[in-house]
Amino acid sequence: MQVLGSNGSGKTTLLRIICGLNDSYEGDILWRGIPVTAQRETFLAALLYIGHRVGVNRILTPRENLRWSASLHTPVDDLRIEAALARVGLKAFEDVPCRNLSAGQNQRVSLARLLISPATLWILDEPFTTLDVYGVRELELLLAEHIAGGGSALVTTHHRLNVPCAVERLNLDGVEQPL
């Protein structure tokens, strides 16, 4: 599902409401038929959210960041972390403090989380912004694999997603936007 809308149309707020970061809404959010508020743990175990702020600590290295964020959901051994970092193109940068990495590389560190987390629902807020051409193609490959594997993803981006599977579009402005 791709969420479209002009700037300020509430895309990020919608995503943060679905994740539960923002609770200023009425009505219910259901996850597999059950209201989210009733099954906080199971819903959060199945969810992976990457916001504008990528959640990568500047002082730590990518390896340490991933080790911590993995342990919040399901602990993962170092080999998978290294493989994930290699897959997103951070081969020789595992132990470089993130403040010395570029914004694009920091974004890739958070994308590496997609590889090591068992979450079935991905919620990605503008994941393509700082990525270069290789990064965009790599992320689209990841999304395709995830959807093929039965997962689901909610993505906000102005970028035309060329992903093999069907892409539903939700336009918050109500008017069809030329892409």
Binding site: G89, A92, Y134, R137, E138
Partner: protein
Amino acid sequence: MPTLQFSSFSEFLQMGTYSFHVWVVYLLFAMFLGYHLILPGLQRKQFIRLQKRRAARDAELAARAASRHGTNDRSAE
């Protein structure tokens, strides 16, 4: 000519009841001396070793990149 103040070595060690004070001060001074003369040398060796390792790694990375671009250009980064 200044005269020698101590008749025996043991008297020298005692420093007239102030042995602890004087010898702790000179011990601190000796450690201070050692720290300031030896530590920079160690840091220098450690730095040079690190730079050598880094130079070797860069060379290896460059060699691998050169060989990959030489053979095919399709492979992902």
